[in-house]
């Protein structure tokens, strides 16, 4: 990776972290409501995957999708406004955190249903391969919990049989709500499941940007060559609860020692250390990145607060598209 790319990834990871920390704070104050599923601790995966995209590449996200959206270049002001349920939100206040769409940036949407994106990714890949005839690829993010959903297996099989350019990105954050991967998955490594679908499967340290990049590079190259899908399992950790109301995440279904151990393996600290040691980033550069990000998040909150609520007149709008097809 070039220095520029590494710095960009670093900045995006910090933005993702700060944005979500702010969202959590606002949730605690009751200013953000509904379901909010924090990605904190997993930032390296989305940023390493999505900053490798070329124009026309696509991705599907999950219920834990704020990090994917930020890595994918979504406007954080529109994101924050959506969390506030404002008219200026990415989805006009009709979506919420689990329904954010940004097709201009290749983002086919976060999703309220576990594994909801895997089959959608296959369809997007069919368009790219058979209709548009490009060498573009589709990333589909899902958790180890979603790897137990039937549609994930159906999608991996379909992608393999049709050699679709899909990169299945399993973010193994160790827990499906309150239940551990050890209790719910038949395999030690989710990547083992790739062999059932005749595709390469690789487990990587999901907190290591460089290791992730190497794995994604291989998978993307293969998909662009028309050789079909790959499964990459990124082992990482959800620092916080499944949602803000999950008070059992620290010392409940997970020991405090375990959580603290993973926090010490913070992907952002790890990358910053690497960048500082390698001389890619100076202290001053780091400080200015952090200042820039903080200002961006503050501005997003201000924008969201100042924005109006949706007009009730939009309630019935957009059930159907009224646009005629020529």
């Amino acid at each position: 990776m070039t220095h520029q790319e590494l710095l960009e990834i670093y900045e995006r990871m910090v933005l993702s972290r700060r944005f979500e920390e702010k969202a959590e704070e606002l949730y605690a104050q009751g200013r953000v409501t509904g379901s909010l599923h924090p990605y904190i601790g997993q930032e390296a995966v989305a940023c390493a995957a999505l900053l490798r995209r070329k124009p026309g590449d696509l991705f599907t996200s999950t219920h834990r999708g704020l990090g994917h959206c930020i890595a994918g270049g979504m406007d954080v002001r529109g994101m924050m406004a959506e969390l506030f349920g404002k008219a200026t939100g990415i989805s006009g206040g009709k979506g919420g955190s689990m329904h954010l769409f940004d097709p201009q940036n290749g983002n086919l949407g976060t999703n309220g249903i576990v594994a909801g994106g895997t089959s959608i990714a296959c369809g997007a890949a069919i368009t790219l391969k058979l209709i548009d005839r490009t060498d573009n690829v589709v990333f589909t993010f899902f958790g180890e919990g979603a790897s137990n959903e039937g549609v994930t297996h159906e999608s991996m099989n379909l992608a393999s049989v049709w050699k679709l350019p899909v990169i299945f990105v399993c973010e193994n954050n160790q827990y499906q709500v309150f239940t551990s991967a050890m209790e719910s998955c038949s395999v030690q490594d989710i990547s083992q499941r790739a062999s059932a679908y005749s595709m390469p499967g690789e487990t990587v340290d999901g907190n290591d940007v460089l290791a992730l990049d190497a794995a994604f590079r291989k998978a993307v190259g293969r998909a662009r060559q028309g050789e079909g899908p790959s499964l990459i399992e990124a082992k990482t950790y959800r620092w916080l609860g499944h949602w803000p109301g999950d008070v059992f995440a620290y010392g409940g279904y997970r020991s405090t020692e375990e959580v603290e151990r993973w926090k010490k393996a913070c992907p952002i600290v790890r990358l910053s250390r690497h960048l500082l040691e390698a001389g890619t980033m100076t202290r001053e550069m780091m400080d200015s990145i952090h200042a820039r990000v903080d200002a961006q998040v503050e501005e997003a909150v201000r924008f969201a607060e100042d924005s109006p609520e949706p007009d009730v007149g939009v309630l019935m709008q957009h059930v159907f598209s009224e646009v005629q097809n020529g």
């Binding site: 696509l58 599907t60 989805s91 006009g92 206040g93 009709k94 979506g95 329904h99 769409f101 097709p103 086919l108 949407g109 999703n111 309220g112 249903i113 909801g116 895997t118 089959s119 959608i120 990714a121 296959c122 369809g123 997007a124 890949a125 069919i126 368009t127 790219l128 058979l130 209709i131 548009d132 039937g150 549609v151 159906e154 999608s155 099989n157 379909l158 049989v161 049709w162 709008q317 957009h318 059930v319 159907f320 598209s321 646009v323 005629q324 097809n325």
Partner: protein, 331 residues
């Protein structure tokens, strides 16, 4: 004008739209071999090749969801479900994803998606291969629901579905595939959604029926005519959108309505139609609205049990007689 089968009309509609628009793509179970189980894709693989029409694995969740993925990335998929019953393996993809994405995205994502499903009784297929789900689909905001009764309607409505920028569930009936009818050859022949077909004019009662129920409705009208009763027969053709005006106009004229559907009775779309009719034509009604439907039971296998469950002309006649307060006659 040629006299062709309902299945051929469906095939022709797809072929014409595939020629017209290179972004139209067909997939489903066995669609590349022998035209699929019901022959609706016959000869399409030869003309269009595997980049335009493909047989899928038996993975309804994956390929129904893939249809959505195609639609939101600019393709115009036609997805075939071999039996409508199998949609239950893909309800997340249809209901949570496909139907709602336009609304959830505030109109940002558009879904030009035709889901062709084959449904209905008549062949002793039993409880998991003979259901009718149009009422269920119609209950989901964001889906259009089409139930064609004739080859011409099948062709004209399917072309409209493929050109529509919304998800359309196109409910074909297994017993209609082999029926023949006049169908216009004009490749620009389409039938708009939300326009009912007035199949027979009458003044004493209105019979409302779709799909496989249209034939017994017309037969009932014939029998009633012999009794000196003039029944009007209307086929709404699309449940969503619904041509409510046409139904109300007819009932204003006749003062009586009988709704016939093969989908189960409880919460069937007939209840919705009856509600709308009474709401808008209450003062014209001379009798309560009647329904003739399958019972609230799974479809049984034995021929005689299946037959007993499915509405036929005799039951429709009795229902009309009831609206005329003449149901005790001759019994």
């Amino acid at each position: 004008m040629a006299k062709i089968k309902y299945a051929t009309a469906i095939r022709d509609a797809m072929a014409e739209e595939m020629r017209r628009d290179p972004r139209v793509f067909v997939m489903g179970e066995d669609v590349e071999r022998f035209g699929g189980v019901f022959g609706c894709t016959l000869d399409l693989p030869e003309e269009f090749g595997p980049d335009r029409i493909r047989s899928t694995p038996i993975s309804e969740a994956a390929f129904v969801g893939a249809g959505l993925g195609m639609a939101i990335t600019g393709a115009r998929p036609i997805v075939e479900l071999q039996y409508v019953d199998f949609i239950m393996c893909a309800m997340d993809q249809l209901v949570n994803q496909t139907a709602k994405i336009h609304y959830m995205s505030n109109g940002k994502m558009t879904v030009p998606y035709t889901l062709r499903v084959q449904q209905g009784c008549g062949r002793g297929n039993g409880a998991q291969h003979a259901q009718n789900f149009e009422s269920l689909f119609a209950n989901i905001p964001g889906l259009k629901v089409v139930c064609p009764a004739t080859p011409a309607d099948a062709k004209g409505l399917l072309k409209t579905a493929i050109r529509d920028n919304n998800p359309v569930v196109f409910c074909e009936h297994k017993m209609l595939y082999a029926t023949r009818g006049e169908v216009p050859d004009d490749p620009d022949f389409t039938i708009p959604f939300g326009k009912a077909a007035l199949l027979r004019e009458g003044k004493d009662a209105t019979i409302i029926a779709t799909a496989y129920m249209v034939a017994p409705a017309l037969e009932a009208a014939d029998r009633l005519a012999k009794e000196g009763i003039s029944a009007e027969v209307i086929d709404p053709r699309t449940i969503v959108p619904l041509d409510e005006d046409a139904l109300v106009r007819s009932v204003e004229k006749t003062g009586r309505a009988v709704i016939v559907h093969e989908t189960n009775e409880f919460c069937g779309f007939g209840a919705e139609l009856a509600f709308r009719i009474q709401g808008r034509a209450f003062k014209y009604l001379d009798a309560p609205v009647e329904r003739v439907t399958t019972a609230q039971i799974p479809m049984p296998y034995a021929r005689n049990l299946e037959k007993a469950n499915v509405p036929d002309a005799a039951r429709i006649v009795r229902a009309v007689m009831k609206t005329l307060y003449r149901d005790k006659e001759g019994s």
